[in-house]
C-alpha cells in the first residue's frame, strides 16, 4: 500500500471536514431533549424528582445496560404514586469509564437528583468517585466490586459484592457438592468475573474444595470454550464454576453439550438471563445452578415481569430487577426524609444517604437493607434450572 503523504493536499479537506462536523453539531442541538422520557408525571404537581440512569446502550455489553435502564425506567413509572413523582432519563455509557463520566455530567446538567446506575463495574468506579466529589446520591444496580462503594458515603449497591458472591458460592459448594471435582472457567479480562473468581478461590481453599482446573478466557476468545472444556474434562472435573455473564455462558453450555461432556455448571448473578437468550435450547441449561437474588419465574415477581414484558417485549433478568429495586430504594428513602423536586442535588444526597442506612425494602431481589459501607444485606439464593424454569435449589 502506498500512502499519499502529501500534507498540502489535506488542508482543504480539513476545512470541509470541520464544516461537516459543525453541521452535525447544529443538528444535534436541534434535537436536544429527545432522550428524556417522562417516568410518570401523574402526580400532577408538574415538578418531578429527577432520576438518572447510566448503562451501555450500544456496543458489546448493550444487552446488560438496556436491562438496567429499562428496569429503572419501569421503576420510575411504577413508584410515581402517593404524591411522589419521578422524571427519568437514561444515558449511554458504551461500557466505557470515560463515556460513563460524560453521561453522568450530562445528567447533572439536566438536573438529576439521584442516580440509579451505572451498570458495569469499571464505569461505576469512575462515576462513583465523581458522585462522591460532587455530592450526588448514587445507587448502582449491578456494579459489584467493593471498589465502587469503598470510601464513598453516598454510593450504594443493590447487588451483592464480588467477594460476597464468590465466598457464598464456595460455601454453597462446600455444603452441597463437597465431593465434586471442580473446574473454574472465568473471564480474565473482566472485572466482575475475575473479582468473583479471586474471592471464590480464597474461600475454596479455606473450605478445602477440590479445584482441579482453573482456566481463563477473554472477550475476544469467547466464541468457543472447547479448549477450556477439554482441559477440564481431561482433569476429571465433574463440576464447573463459571462466574461469567449469560452470553458467553450460553456458548459454554452449547460447547459442553456438543462435546457430550456431562457436567454441572454453576454461575453467579450474571448468569441470570440465560433463559432469555432468544432461540437458546434450554435443555442445555438443565441442571444449571446459579446464585442470583432474582427469578422471573418466582410468583412474587409476576406483576413486575408482566409489566416489563408489556413495556419492552422481553423477560426481565436480574439486571432489570436490581435496577427496579434501586428505584424502589430511592423512593423509600425519599419518603423517609422528604426530598422534593426543589431539593438541591447536594442536599438530596446527604439526606438520602442517611436514610439508606435506616430503610428496609421489600424488593424483587429480597429484603434489602444497607450497611454503612453502602453494601446491600440480603440473603443469597441458589436457583437451579429445571424444565426450562428457575427453581429455588
Amino acid at each position: 500500500m502506498s500512502l499519499n503523504m502529501n500534507p498540502a493536499m489535506n488542508r482543504r479537506s480539513l476545512v470541509a471536514g470541520v464544516a461537516g462536523l459543525g453541521a452535525a453539531g447544529i443538528l444535534a442541538g436541534c434535537s436536544g431533549g429527545g432522550a428524556s422520557s417522562d417516568g410518570g408525571s401523574a402526580a400532577g404537581s408538574g415538578s418531578a424528582i429527577k432520576i438518572g440512569s447510566i448503562g451501555p446502550k450500544t456496543g458489546a455489553t448493550a444487552s446488560y445496560g438496556l436491562s438496567v435502564t429499562n428496569g429503572a425506567e419501569l421503576g420510575c413509572k411504577e413508584f410515581s404514586v402517593d404524591g411522589l413523582s419521578f422524571e427519568y432519563r437514561s444515558e449511554d455509557s458504551t461500557g466505557n469509564a470515560e463515556t460513563a463520566v460524560n453521561a453522568y455530567n450530562t445528567l447533572v446538567d439536566w438536573g438529576m437528583q439521584a442516580l440509579v446506575g451505572p451498570t458495569l463495574t469499571g464505569p461505576s468506579v469512575s462515576v462513583a468517585a465523581s458522585c462522591n466529589d460532587d455530592r450526588t446520591f448514587m445507587i448502582t444496580p449491578s456494579a459489584s466490586s467493593e471498589d465502587v462503594t469503598s470510601g464513598k458515603d453516598c454510593v450504594f449497591q443493590v447487588c451483592f459484592t464480588d467477594p460476597n458472591q464468590g465466598k457464598n458460592a464456595a460455601l454453597f459448594l462446600a455444603d452441597k457438592y463437597a465431593d465434586e471435582k471442580i473446574a473454574v472457567i472465568y473471564n480474565s479480562g473482566d472485572a466482575y468475573s475475575s473479582g468473583i473468581y479471586n474471592a471464590f478461590k480464597e474461600q475454596a481453599s479455606a473450605s478445602k474444595l477440590q479445584i482441579v482446573s482453573e482456566e481463563a478466557f477473554k472477550d475476544d476468545s469467547a466464541s468457543s470454550f472447547n479448549n477450556q472444556l477439554t482441559k477440564a474434562q481431561a482433569a476429571g472435573a465433574t463440576f464447573i464454576f463459571a462466574p461469567i455473564y449469560y452470553t458467553p455462558a450460553s456458548v459454554l453450555l452449547t460447547n459442553a453439550h456438543d462435546m457430550g461432556y456431562e457436567v454441572t455448571l454453576m454461575g453467579c448473578d450474571g448468569m441470570d438471563g440465560i433463559l432469555g437468550v432468544e432461540n437458546f435450547d434450554t435443555s442445555y441449561a438443565e441442571g444449571l445452578l446459579l446464585m442470583t437474588p432474582f427469578s422471573a419465574d418466582d410468583p412474587a415477581s409476576a406483576d413486575f415481569v408482566k409489566a416489563y414484558q408489556d413495556a419492552y417485549g422481553e423477560t426481565p433478568d436480574q439486571f432489570a430487577a436490581d435496577a427496579y429495586d434501586g428505584v424502589h430504594a430511592v423512593a423509600e428513602a425519599i419518603k423517609k426524609v422528604g426530598v422534593t423536586a426543589d431539593t438541591a442535588r447536594e442536599d438530596a444526597c446527604d439526606k438520602l444517604a442517611a436514610a439508606m442506612l435506616e430503610i428496609t425494602v421489600e424488593g424483587l431481589t429480597g429484603t434489602l437493607s444497607w450497611n454503612d459501607k453502602g453494601q446491600v444485606e440480603k440473603d443469597p439464593t441458589a436457583y437451579v434450572i429445571t424444565d426450562g424454569k428457575y427453581v429455588k435449589a
Binding site: 488542508r11 482543504r12 470541509a16 464544516a19 461537516g20 436541534c30 434535537s31 468506579v125 468475573s193 479471586n198
Partner: protein, 356 residues
C-alpha cells in the same frame, strides 16, 4: 519579529497561538461557569486525545508508517503513570509536581516500549507494519491485564500473572499497603490529579517537540525516507534510524498523554486501550490531514465532543455518529463532493486557504 517572515515558522506559530487562545477562552468561560458540565468534564480527555493525535500524526503523517497499535503506548504510559503517582503520594505531596513526575515516567516507559517494539516492527512496511503494530497493541493490552502491582512500606510489589491463578493476596502486602493494579480489574481508587492546565501544557510540549522535530534536519530526513526510501538511502540516510526516531518520540508523547488520562479517572481498565481506541486516534489523524498538526488538534477536539453532542439523538446516537463519520470522509476526499461543498461554503473555504 523578523523570524515570522518565514512562512513555515509563521504557520507553526499560528498553531501555537490557536492552542493558547483556545485554552484562554475555555479557561475564562469555565471560570465564569458558562460551560456545562458535560463539556467541562471532557476537557482533560480532549487534551489527551489531542496529544495522541499529534503523536500519531508524527508516525503516520510525517514518517509514513501506518500504526494501528498506538493505544498500547497510551496504556503503558497510563499504568506506569498511575503506579508512579500512587506510590509517590507520600513522597511528593504536591499534586501538580506528582502529576508532572508521573507523566515523565509514563513517557519514559512508553518510549522504552516504543524502542523495543520499533526495532522489529520497522523492518516492515505498509499493511504488514500495520498488522504488526495492531498485534503489539493487543499484546500490550493482554500483558497489562496480567499485571498485579501493589505498594507498601518496603516498596513496589509486582506479579506477572501468566497462569491466571494469582490474586492481590499473593502480593503479600504489609499493613497499610495498597494494591494499585489488580489485573483485569485495572487500577481503581486512583487519585484524580489531572487538570486542564496540565493538559494544555502537555499539548504545547507535544506540539513544540513534534513541530521542531519536523522542521529539523532529522525531520527532513524522516520525510525524505517517507517520500522516497530508495533515494533517501542512496544519499546515505539511515532509514531505520530516522523511522525509529519518529516512532519512539511518538510513543513517548502517547505515554505522557496516557499518564494524564490515567490521572483523570479514578478507575482505569486495560481493556480501554484496545484496537478501537487506536483506530479512534487514527481517525483524528486522517481527518485532520496527514502531517497537518493543526488539523489533528481540531479533528481530535471535534470528534471527541461529537458523540457527546449527539446525546440528543438518544438511541440513534452512535448510528448518527457513524453516518457523520462516513459523510465527512466522503466530503473531504471525493473531488466532486468537495467541489459541491466548496460552492456551498465559498467564504470559509477562501478565508482559511489564505490563512494557510
Amino acid at each position: 519579529m523578523k523570524f515570522l517572515n518565514d512562512k513555515v515558522t509563521r504557520r507553526d506559530f499560528l498553531t501555537y497561538g490557536l492552542v493558547v487562545a483556545a485554552f484562554i477562552v475555555v479557561s475564562l468561560l469555565a471560570s465564569q461557569g458558562v460551560i456545562p458540565r458535560s463539556l467541562s468534564g471532557q476537557l482533560v480527555p480532549v487534551t489527551c486525545y489531542v496529544v495522541m493525535a499529534i503523536s500519531l500524526n508524527l508516525v503516520v503523517g510525517v514518517a509514513g508508517d501506518l500504526s494501528l497499535g498506538h493505544a498500547g503506548f497510551m496504556s503503558v504510559g497510563a499504568f506506569s503513570g498511575v503506579v508512579c503517582a500512587m506510590s509517590l503520594s507520600a513522597a511528593i505531596p504536591d499534586d501538580g509536581i506528582r502529576l508532572a513526575v508521573s507523566m515523565v515516567v509514563g513517557a519514559l516507559f512508553a518510549a522504552v516500549a516504543g524502542f523495543l517494539i520499533g526495532i522489529p516492527v520497522l523492518r516492515l512496511r505498509g499493511d504488514y507494519l500495520a498488522i504488526v503494530t495492531l498485534a503489539f497493541g493487543e499484546i500490550i493490552k493482554e500483558v497489562v491485564n496480567c499485571l498485579i502491582v501493589g505498594t507498601d512500606a518496603i516498596g513496589l510489589h509486582v506479579i506477572f500473572n501468566v497462569a491466571g491463578d494469582k490474586t492481590v493476596d499473593d502480593l503479600h502486602l504489609l499493613e497499610g499497603g495498597v494494591a494499585i493494579i489488580k489485573g483485569a480489574q485495572g487500577a481503581s481508587g486512583t487519585e484524580k490529579i489531572a487538570t486542564f492546565a496540565a493538559g494544555f501544557v502537555l499539548v504545547m510540549i507535544a506540539l513544540a517537540v513534534v513541530l521542531n522535530l519536523v522542521r529539523s534536519r532529522a525531520g527532513r530526513a524522516i520525510m525524505a525516507v517517507r517520500d522516497n526510501r530508495i533515494a533517501a538511502e542512496s544519499v546515505g540516510l539511515s532509514i531505520t534510524k530516522y523511522r525509529l526516531i519518529a516512532f519512539v518520540v511518538s510513543a513517548a508523547l502517547a505515554g505522557a498523554a496516557g499518564a494524564l488520562y490515567g490521572a483523570n479517572f479514578s478507575q482505569l481498565s486495560p481493556a480501554k486501550f484496545d484496537f478501537n481506541t487506536s483506530i479512534l486516534v487514527l481517525v483524528f489523524v486522517v481527518l485532520g490531514g496527514l502531517g497537518n498538526m493543526r488539523g489533528s488538534i481540531i479533528a481530535a477536539v471535534l470528534l471527541t465532543i461529537l458523540p457527546e453532542a449527539l446525546r440528543g439523538f438518544s438511541d440513534y446516537r452512535m448510528l448518527v455518529y457513524a453516518i457523520v463519520l462516513i459523510l465527512v470522509m466522503l466530503f473531504t476526499n471525493n473531488p466532486q463532493l468537495k467541489l459541491t461543498l466548496g460552492k456551498l461554503l465559498p467564504k470559509r473555504e477562501g478565508a482559511v486557504a489564505h490563512g494557510e
